[in-house]
Amino acid sequence: MDFSLSSDQLLIKESVDRFVGDAYGAERRRAIVAGNEGFSRDHWRTFASLGWLGIALPESQGGFGGSPVESMILMEAFGRGLVVEPYLPTVVLGGNALAFGGAHGDLLEQMIEGELLLSLAYAEDGSRYDEGLVETRARRDGDDLVIDGKKRGVLFGAVADKLVVSVRTRGLSQDRHGITLVLVDGDAPGVRRRDYRTVDGGRASDVVFSGVRVGPQAIVGELDGGLAILERTLDYGIAALAAEAVGIMSVMHATTVDYLKARTQFGVPIGSFQVLQHRAVDMLMSLEMARSMCYYGTMALSSSESDPQRRRALSATKVQIARSGRYVGQQAIQLHGAIGMTEEYHVGHYFKRMSMIELALGDVDHHLRRYVALGRIEDRAERPPDVAPPVAAESFA
């Protein structure tokens, strides 16, 4: 058993920490968020040049052969820096979907070089968080598919060159078979978007597809066989969000502890009040529980476990992340008092992003339900997970 990060992983960590420390910061981020596209193309080129865009993809597909651990290292730093660049939709969701689909190597290469932005369009009005509930339909017309339907919450849809869209090619809306993933150009005829700035400083779009025609080469994976790819992609998304959340929580916690030490009232630092001390301790414990689950979820991705076990582990991860994140975020605001409620102070921005991570790719209720449903197929006598975790540079507690 070897717990340390590899030297390559340490290098990645150092470089992303340096990026977050140098290039980011409240003021610069504010300018990026206020800008036209909501992210920095310069930063994106930096990501490409540092190799981050293909870091976890297999070498056979033009990536650098890393594991989910590399992705975790990046996302955690992005969380600490509150990085808004569309790494999640492009690399984690879009890129993984293509990679799991097993073709489109040319597109992956473009993405890795920073020349292609992607997004995933899976959620619908009636589906809530259930990726298996698809009402956007694609009918066959010769070799083509013609798509009609609507997707919501498509992250950075306005800048995505291509969307990976889940469509129903067979069966009824709740059938788990008959879902296909297809690639659609962001500016294809029949695509209409409503773009908006999200409450957490990002961008998203609701996208309507009206008779959008794609050829057979647009299919990701197999016709009717998209759900397994989609599920796996979303599990990678959850692990990435977990790492981002850990980064966010660690900043909120550290900021709060610093504030408790610096702010004086009644002639003493407010950190001398026992109630606030215990609250800060509970924040720390929530953070450490979340960090542990982040490792657990990340490990589950690369383990050879069967799909239901992987999905169950990621559901557990999302539940813990969301619960920890809510507590840490709410207490960060509360312990700061009024200043925490202001747009000009940074902790509120972390709180808002954390709140949206809580919901993204399924909230606590959704994943508890999924966890229970997947558990029915398992033995009821439980043991703790039989693998040990990595130790990232963040040491325990």
Binding site: D200, Q265, A338, M341, E343, F351, S355, D365
Partner: protein, 380 residues
């Protein structure tokens, strides 16, 4: 023992309800319901209608324009306003500064200021908190130095709601820096149009602009704007806190928020049914509804004890804590209910949630309220 409202109470409720139905402009009601920001004109429009009916200041003595209602009637009035989507009462004039002027002000102050509050000619704001003094209000630093017939005021006040609408601000200022912490504080009324007053907006994390910072840079304030005696400001502010009636509007507003949540949940779909028909989510709503029912009954008990002549004590701390916990729980569920819709500011669901985090901070943080109950009720 008769546990129901009396026929007179019911009649009163009907009267208030029909007044609101008749007088409240539909657009103002809509804004209130949807959480849109109300303009100053919206507030003044509504306040003038209340004033015309003689209902602008139910908490004042009749001699100055109060209504003479008993606590039960005041409760009914508050409740009907909330349920009728009337704008919330802006407390700074009617509820905060006026009782202090009535109790401690001189005749000239009463004669000038009180009618202007009733008529909405003045809009007041409250200058208590400072960047360095939040919970520890008595550590305030804003200085007022006597110079002939004026005080010269320097300092910064913050977290000031609707300072951008106000033409007057009542402030706690330090007139005697040598005196013991609370003793050197005076209660001063300041015209916001005076030279040297500047207002800086503070935007909150929900994107709203309700609060501000107000700077005083050598602002000259006539000495006749001092209320009561110099150095007694702290006593006056405390008097107000101790006599502040436990407003019932918060509970009614929470019932209203709950209705909002239910509407939202009825529009969302999960597993092929509406979210409100999802047992799990329905039980979350039920849990908070039950808590709110308990709180509403706790408040009626408090009302009863006030009706029986007891001074309200820590009830207001109790209602503050539980009331804000419940409001926050409801807005958490609003965000949850909205799912991916929460990302979009147009749905407002996440903005409600963000905005309501303030409620456990302002008006004495919930931690401070716990301290108050521990000390005053439990003797710890």
């Amino acid at each position: 023992m008769n546990l129901a409202f009396s026929p007179e109470d019911h009649a009163f409720r009907a009267e208030v309800r029909s007044f609101i139905k008749r007088e409240l402009p539909a657009e103002i009601a809509r804004k209130t319901r949807d959480g849109d920001e109300l303009t100053k004109d919206d507030y003044v429009n509504w306040q003038r209608r209340l004033a015309a009916r003689g209902w602008m200041a139910p908490n004042w003595p009749v001699a100055h324009g109060g209504t003479g209602w008993n606590v039960v009637q005041k409760h009914i009035f508050d409740e009907e306003l909330a349920f009728g989507y009337a704008p919330r009462q802006i407390p700074f004039g009617v509820v905060m500064v006026a009782p202090i002027i009535i109790e401690f002000g001189n005749d000239a102050q009463k004669a000038y200021y009180l009618p202007r509050i009733l008529s909405s000619d003045d809009w007041w704001c409250q200058g208590y908190s400072e960047p360095g003094s939040g919970s520890d209000l008595a550590s305030l630093q804003t200085r007022a130095v006597r110079d002939g017939d004026h005080y010269v005021v320097n300092g910064t006040k913050t977290w000031i709601t609707y300072a951008q609408y106000a033409n007057l601000i009542f402030c706690l200022v330090r007139t005697d820096p040598a005196a013991q912490k609370q003793r050197g504080i005076s209660f001063l009324l300041i015209d916001m149009t005076s030279p040297g007053v500047s207002v800086r907006p503070i935007v909150t994390i929900d994107g709203g602009h309700e609060i501000n910072e107000v700077h005083f840079d050598a602002v000259r304030v006539p000495v006749e704007n001092l209320v009561g005696a110099e150095g007694q400001g702290w006593t006056y502010a405390k008097f107000l806190l101790e006599h502040e009636r436990n407003s019932t509007a918060g509970v009614a507003a929470s019932f209203r928020l709950l209705g909002h949540l239910k509407e939202l949940a009825a529009q969302q779909r999960v597993n092929g049914k509406t979210l409100i028909d999802d047992e799990r989510f329905a039980e979350k709503i039920a849990s908070v509804e039950i808590e709110l029912t308990a709180l509403s009954y706790a408040q009626l008990r408090s009302l009863a004890s006030e009706h029986a002549g007891k001074t309200p004590g820590a009830e207001s701390s109790f209602v503050k804590i539980k009331g804000t916990e419940i409001q926050q729980a409801i807005t958490e569920l609003m965000m949850e209910a909205d799912g991916y819709g929460a990302l979009d500011p147009a749905t407002r669901s996440a903005l409600w949630y963000f905005n309501f985090r303030k409620t456990s901070i302002y008006a004495g943080s919930n931690e401070i309220q716990h301290n108050i109950i521990a000390k005053r009720i439990l003797g710890l």
